[in-house]
Amino acid sequence: MTIVIKGGSIVGATGVTNADVLIDGDRIVEVGQGLRGDESLDAQGCHVFPGFVDLHTHLREPGREEAETIETGSRAAALGGYTAVVAMPNTNPAQDSVAVVKFVRDQGVRAGLCDVFPSGCITVAREGKVLAPFADLTAVGVRVFTDDGNGVQDPALMRRALEYARTLGVTMAQHCEVQDLTRHAVMDECACSSDLGLPGWPAIAEEMMVSRDIELCRLTGGRLHVLHVSTRGSVELVRQAKRDGLPVTAEVTPHHLALDHELLRSFDPVYKVNPPLRSMEDVLALRQGLVDGTIDAIATDHAPHPPRDKELPLDQAPPGMLGLEYALGVVNSVVDVTPSRLAEVFSINPARIAQIGDRHGAGAVVGAPANLSVVDLAATWRAEDHRSASLSRNVPYRGRSLRGKVRHTILYGRAVVRDGEAMR
């Protein structure tokens, strides 16, 4: 069976061309004018992007299925234009064994809404004490390792991890937080936290670890990916590391690009996240880093929590925000970049970092797997009018107008989202 995507503007790394895309089975077979297929998807007024790749998704299964399951999270991903997500390992049990990694991947296949690539832990149970079985996990396909939620505090352990990373050709993705500086922290350490009497999470706690790990990267040659960069100082450290030619990459979340710490004055736990929302000055530096190439990728840090948990007092509520369905609209609303740059940060670069470039990130190219995202970049919508596919409702964008909405998502030639509706 063939499908044709009609009337869209095809986005590649170098530019945009108007063409139809013909898909046969799971592959793209032709790109050109006036193509016909058995079925047609309307892309008038839309851009045809390579399917988005999220380096940072919390799917919660196994262990917290009341917050999200691999199926519901995959559906949210598909609705957000994602054809692949890297599943964070802070499940219960954690993704530190071949069995759990296989379980997560199989659940992803069963859901059939996007590719789910499990990450592996850096240390057993993310406890920062004993290294996880890197070689075993690499052998079953894991390419990104992280203790996300925790930074690896012990520099000797992190050095060993990066040495393994170099040998195995995988990436260590660090959640940069020196925990001794963030005990009981609820929000950014700033004038606002001082007013509210809330313990602060100072920028230095992130920057010290970014700086340390860049030096360990320099020492070992192991690939380092900096998760959810949130401060101006971190952006500058990554910028310098790249100038030095180190194998360092970095991601930023939509919420750190759009929201600042003043929102915490409402005491609404929906704005609590780790790392915390920062100052407008940091927000502007992150946007600049995204525009100038210092930051490689948008990563959602989609972190579902059930309403009950987000109704706890601010200092007790768990950190985290939904992101998958909102990322494109949020980023496109706050950062002025070309469609090509959007393709890079939403798909091409994260696919390269996750080492899944053979399946994702190529876009509408003849012979490539048909993983595409058709987006109306001009469509405006409001977050509160959208009924999320997630089991959770911790969306921090209520009351905001977002520009850019996913119309169709095509996964291996199958329209898993059509006209903004999930097909399964």
Binding site: S193, S194, G197, F267, R308, L312, P313, D315
Partner: protein
């Protein structure tokens, strides 16, 4: 329905109005029968997630003197652990038909969260290290009335001690400055909030350099756990540098006053017996607490201005 959650939410005019109202409440409290029917039929619930018998009794006394019915929902940590969420508790009590929640919680912001889940007025009796507005009102009331004035214009007030963890300090900085006082914060850097440059205060690290030039010394309680957190090297050292010692009392100007929100840590921040300080206002703070809380309850619950009805009644 008018919430009283922070001093900044009140603003200068409403603060002054509440202090005037407190005068009338103080007069009621001085009567042989200190009780009026003003809030008859209203129900006030004290929802205390953190033990504070003093504050709770002060509010409940205030409510009863205005003839409100009171309910007391004291939450020991064990019953919270049984699983009822804050929201469930608030919604259930609201359904019983209550007019005000008096809320004390160890977490900042809880009164704002509760206000989303109830139609009743929310009165903050202390949230985390954030705000304790009725304490600030009673402190402002105590100072002004002891000086026969309406506001604090021209007064130099030093707040001494653990500002960082103090809701009393945050509320008092806002209240005192709103009423025209010049406010000094006296503390080691570790006991100050990380950023205070935007507060309308002067920060002083050397207590001795200001002790002889202030009109009011407001001493804050220092909890022993601050030492374990590494914020002060030792209680003894803190006491030496930031405690109110007989030597410092002797240097105070003759009409300077001393205040403390209680409970005191004798031998830590108070190295003198407050009974021996001529200008101690500490007992008056407690007495005035009831009158000020009556004013707050009355102001939140009694009057719902309805101007068309007012015109009907005008004679």
């Amino acid at each position: 329905m008018r919430h009283v959650r922070s001093i900044s939410e009140l603003g200068r005019d409403r603060i002054l109005g509440l202090l005037n109202l407190a005068d009338r409440m103080a007069e009621i409290n001085s009567r042989p029968v200190p009780k009026v029917p003003a809030l008859r039929g209203r129900t006030v619930v004290s929802l205390f997630y953190e033990d504070s018998t003093r504050t709770r009794l002060s509010f409940e006394t205030a409510a009863r003197r205005l003839s409100a019915d009171t309910m007391n929902f004291s939450v020991s940590s064990s019953s919270v652990n049984k699983g009822e969420s804050l929201r469930d508790t608030v919604e259930t009590i609201t359904d019983m038909g209550v007019d005000a929640f008096v809320v004390r919680h160890k977490s900042a912001g809880v009164p704002w969260q509760i206000a989303q889940w109830t139609t009743a007025a929310v009165i903050n009796a202390g949230d985390g290290a954030h705000q304790h507005p009725t304490q600030a009102l009673l402190d402002a009331y105590t100072i002004t009335r002891s000086r026969n004035s309406q506001d604090l214009a021209g007064l130099r007030v030093a707040i001494v001690g653990d500002i960082r963890h103090s809701r009393v300090a945050r509320s008092n900085v806002e209240a005192f400055t709103a009423l025209g006082a010049e406010v000094l914060l006296v503390a080691p850097p570790t006991l100050l909030p990380p950023v205070v440059s935007h507060w309308p205060v002067e920060v002083v690290h050397d207590f001795d350099s200001v002790v002889d030039s202030v009109d009011v010394l407001y001493m804050l309680r220092l909890q022993a756990e601050r030492m374990n957190q590494g914020l002060v090297p030792s209680l003894a050292e803190y006491s030496t540098h930031y405690g109110l010692t007989p030597r410092r009392v002797a240097r105070m100007s003759v009409d300077a006053q001393v205040m403390h929100p209680g409970p005191m840590n004798r031998g830590v921040e108070m190295v003198v017996d407050p009974a021996e300080i001529r200008g101690s206002l500490i007992h008056r703070q407690v007495t005035n607490g009831v009158a000020v809380r009556m004013a707050v309850l009355f102001d939140s619950l009694a009057v719902e201005p309805d101007h068309s009805a007012l015109r009907e009644e005008a004679r």
